[in-house]
Symmetry: C2
Subunit: 421 residues, 2 copies
């Protein structure tokens, strides 16, 4: 996060719509009103590797979720989505396991997901519908329920404050590092905290099924307003990243609000909640890309001068998913031709002759012609770990959007091409 051009959690207090954001420690359990536990129950083969975690709110909390759009939805996705519909957005706990995605597992998989939430609900003394569940790991394999059930019983008995880091570790599959963030939000009506944890990073290993994110806050917020904040904050963060253009069977993003800070969120201070969730989400999302499979560089693709934000996003996404652009960045090659060609096939009308391309702030393409003399300087920028690509479409519009991606390396091929059976 050394590159100032990349948005992240502000390192110093910054004023935002009357609110002030300050980084905080503690990850998903930084906000008041939550406990958690994480343990090794035996899903992962490696002894001691954390593979099960429970996050519990002290009392019934507002909750919201965003789930994969893939038609092949894992059992835990179907269960969590249904529970949020049934409760209208109320939850007491979130159970997450890693090492097994419980996807493409048929009726047995559904029964296993149902069992996970019912075990947690029984232990916590709440309705089954108030427990949400997420799984990540191998697709097409059933959960070892003889390990998972005792694991849930032990975890719910061990719930404690200040265990956010263990939760972040228990989400990992082959993620190179755990991901957690928290931010304190000071508003005119008081102070609350937004925390979160996530895991990535592509469908990493053969059959690995991907992203899970959990956001927490001790703000007091209605389910409807929390849902709105989750969708608005995900749009330019979790939904603005791509490792390999793949959308998995298990992608799940949950938010849960304990209300324990006593700070009530209404329309007036909603921007403060949104800013807090944006800051945590952006940092977690960027960390997912940084930990992407085989990734050696973070690439921020910003498209400006567009007529609409969806135009800007579409062009940025096409560039960010271009294997030729991603391999060029991997090789620190300021290959503006590939960037122009990717933009040109994105399906958004613009005039190539009025577009410009900057890499690392250095102008490489303008008036339909290259600035090849600047290439060595751009190549220097690309040798770093944070690369920026800026394309101005020159349509006369002034809308912009950023998509974060990583480079495509031979290591990606090695990770995903190794013979599995």
């Amino acid at each position: 996060m050394a590159d100032a051009s990349l948005p992240a959690v502000p390192s110093e207090a910054a004023p935002l719509g009357g609110a002030t954001l300050t980084p905080a420690a503690g990850g998903a359990t930084a906000p008041q009103g939550f406990t958690s536990a994480a343990l090794h129950c035996g899903i992962k083969a490696k002894a001691g590797a954390l593979d099960l975690t429970v996050l519990a709110a002290d009392r019934a909390a507002s909750a919201a979720g965003i789930f994969t759009t893939n038609l092949a939805k894992a059992a835990p996705v179907l269960v969590s989505r249904r529970h949020l519909e049934q409760t209208g957005g109320i939850a007491r706990a979130i159970v997450v396991n890693s090492g097994c995605a419980n996807a493409c597992t048929g009726t047995q998989g559904m029964a296993d997901a149902e069992r996970m939430v019912s075990e947690a609900a029984a232990a916590l003394g709440c309705d089954v519908e108030q427990v949400l569940v997420a799984s990540t790991g191998v697709i097409g394999v059933n959960l070892k329920m003889d390990k998972v059930v005792p694991g849930i019983r032990m975890a719910t008995a061990a719930l404690a404050r200040g265990k956010g880091s263990e939760m972040a570790q228990a989400l990992m599959t082959t993620d190179p590092f755990p991901k957690e963030q928290a931010v304190t939000v000071d508003t005119g009506s008081g102070r609350f905290i937004v925390g979160g944890t996530a895991k990535g990073s592509g469908m990493i290993e053969p059959h690995m099924a991907t992203m899970i994110g959990v956001l927490t806050t001790d703000a007091e917020v209605s389910p409807a307003l929390l849902r709105r904040a989750l969708h608005e904050s995900a749009r330019d963060t979790f939904n603005a990243i791509t490792v390999d253009g793949e959308c998995s069977t298990n992608d799940t993003l949950l938010a849960i609000a304990s209300g324990a800070s006593g700070v009530a969120i209404d329309e007036k201070n909603y921007p403060a909640l949104l800013e807090g969730m944006l800051a945590v989400s952006r940092a977690l999302a960027i960390d997912i890309v940084r930990g992407g499979e085989g990734a050696t560089k973070l690439i921020a693709v910003t498209v400006s001068g567009a007529r609409t934000v969806s135009d800007a996003r579409q062009v940025a996404r096409t560039i960010a998913n271009s294997p030729l652009v991603k391999t060029a960045v991997h090789g620190a090659d300021p290959n503006w031709g590939r960037i122009v060609a990717a933009a040109g096939r994105a399906g958004v009308p613009f005039d190539v002759d009025t577009a410009t391309v900057h890499v690392g702030g250095i102008l490489l393409f303008e008036n339909g012609l290259p600035h090849d003399h600047a290439a060595p300087q751009a190549a220097e920028h690309m040798k770093g770990t944070d690369v920026s690509i800026d394309v101005n479409l020159g349509t006369g519009g002034n809308v912009e959007a950023t998509i974060w991606t990583c480079d495509l390396s031979a290591e990606y091929v090695r990770i995903n091409g190794e013979y599995r059976t």
Copy 2:
């Protein structure tokens, strides 16, 4: 082409709508009424490497073209497209150079492309508008016109019959092998020939700009009917392949019909012309994939059980462009989970529980569950050079489509990631 499951030019005469197709030698100059020449004019650095070719019809011929949909269109694309509009589909010659794409070259690039066609027209004594031009090679670099102009003069002076192979070689950039095909079509109204040549294979090297195809026939066919046959034959051949999902600045497919066979094409024997063009196009298109950057395997992705052909194509294309599927094939990993996940995110509605996945004809996924016992047998199939992936969407529809692609190897990353400047 050893795998019988992959369509190609039939190795034995096969009856098609009353016509019989037989493979023929001679590539693009196999049909009567054409001459060609190819030479090294000096665009490529390597001494003797063919980099310029002219194909001429003995007299004004019907012609048609399909061009890149990329907004960043190279100068030769703009010139050829305009000429076909101006003449209503009449051409005498096609000039093609390799080693320089004449793309992103501004007004100088347009002047250079205009000069190429005017030099050829002067030498052949025809209207400038009757000459088409295509370029392939490095983007953002101007043509060495002091080499190209004398080259065109020498080539037009050296036109001869039976030089199709040299033409195929002159199209190559870093293609691993030249691509040419021809087929004799016997119909009730007589015999004609369809020939062709093409080059690939992705935007291979830094800044290389891609596909060029030239189809020839000595059938007598109106420009309108030739245009229709070109579009219909390209749809399931040149437009049904993908190496890396990239669409270049220069993609050009041209067809030219000399009429020298005396066989007139009307609505009745149009299917015979279409079959001939399909056979040549399919074989050339598959050869482009086989020669794709870093490719070690040809993958035929067939999606059946769809409601519409566009649904089938969309799902097949999503699977064919999935980096996770392509790396799995590279590693001979029968990873049905990635195939299901890619199909599920293609944007086409279907029920995963009624879909099936076969690899090499071996059932791997059915009723929402894996057939893991069959994986070793599928892995054996995947160790070969020709891999088939068949997905039945189980929608009740009976439409299918095939997209051809290649595996994604570390060599692809090496080719495209090497530092250029």
